[in-house]
């Protein structure tokens, strides 16, 4: 039975997840649109999940802890997306903008 552990080294998967995380970080830092910032955060959470599943598959394939942790990350990401998007809608209602640079009432 061929499996991915023989065909692809673990470091390739980790590099893919690292690159995905860095792209997401760039998106979260550089976008002006708040929805765009949330898209970058979702990319970063996906990269973390790839890492978790890869470690589970390559290091401890017969223990469920890796997959369970990945599922909890998915749950928290869904909750974060729901609350974050609700906040964006509330901000848009009161200020008529989704631009993160213009929402600066907490700036010192």
């Amino acid at each position: 039975m061929p499996s991915m552990t023989e065909a692809v080294p673990l470091s390739w998967v980790l590099l893919l997840a690292g690159a995905l995380f860095c792209i997401g970080l760039f998106g979260a830092l550089s976008r002006r649109n708040t929805v765009g910032i949330l898209l970058g955060i979702e990319l970063m959470l996906n990269a973390v999940n790839i890492n978790l599943v890869a470690f589970w598959r390559y290091l401890e394939p017969n223990v469920v802890a890796g997959q369970t942790f990945a599922l909890f990350v998915v749950t928290v990401a869904a909750a974060e997306a729901a609350v974050g998007l609700a906040m964006i809608i509330a901000i848009y209602r009161s200020r008529q903008t989704v631009n993160a640079d213009e929402v600066d009432s907490l700036r010192g």
């Binding site: 065909a7 998967v13 690292g18 760039f26 765009g36 469920v64 990401a77």
Partner: protein, 210 residues
């Protein structure tokens, strides 16, 4: 067969990275969300390749099915006309580029490439390594991970109620928010006022003044 898996992984990895780069660079935010959805889908395929079938299905159900719809609805409700024409990046986006590039080039790559992982020995020929599947995950969720499972459900309830409370607007404080089509019509009217509409408008304003 191993070569096939390697090729499949490389194709998935390249597509995930290209879709992610398009997500953070493309100008139209709706296109960015669609690129993100395709990236989610390919990550789900990568989970299937890693034999994590339950997480692969959960990825498609939760991310491709639910989170993406939520994002598209949020974009639809907060669409502003100027947003599509202005630049989407912060003025100092190159600083935002330096930080992740340095993180990847100086920290992640050297660490990953130099560390020796304690990989378990490959299974003897003819046998396959035991892999925890969906049945084991289900058993674990009602035995040793029962408390985290309950906490996660409480978290989802709190997030649901919180999202409703944050986005809720009381009827007395509600004011008229024009739709996108009405905004377009308004802008066109301001840009090139045709005589009939301006005459109607002036009569309207005159009527309201008197």
């Amino acid at each position: 067969m191993n070569t096939f898996i390697t090729i499949l992984f490389v194709v998935f990895a390249v597509y995930i990275l290209v879709a992610a780069i398009m997500t953070v660079t493309v100008k139209n935010i709706v296109h960015a969300a669609l690129w993100l959805i395709s990236s989610f889908f390919t990550v789900g395929a990568l989970y299937l390749l890693m034999e994590a079938e339950f997480i692969g299905v959960a990825q498609v159900l939760i991310y491709v099915g639910a989170v993406s719809i939520l994002i598209l609805f949020a974009i639809m409700l907060t669409r502003d006309l100027e947003g599509t024409q202005n630049r989407q990046m912060t003025p100092r986006w190159w600083i935002a580029l330096i930080v992740p590039a340095a993180l990847f080039g100086l920290l992640i790559t050297p660490t990953v490439l130099t560390y020796q992982w304690q990989l378990p020995p490959p299974a003897p020929a003819g046998q396959s390594t035991p892999i925890a599947g969906a049945a084991q995950i289900g058993t674990a969720f009602v035995r040793e991970y029962l408390l985290p499972f309950q906490v996660a459900s409480v978290l989802l309830t709190v997030a649901l109620i919180g999202a409703v409370v944050i986005a809720f607007e009381e009827r007395e404080r509600r004011r008229y928010v024009p739709t996108l089509a009405e905004k377009v019509r308004q802008q066109q009217r301001v840009r090139r006022p045709d005589p009939a509409a301006s005459a109607m408008q002036s009569s309207e304003t005159a009527g309201s003044e008197t």
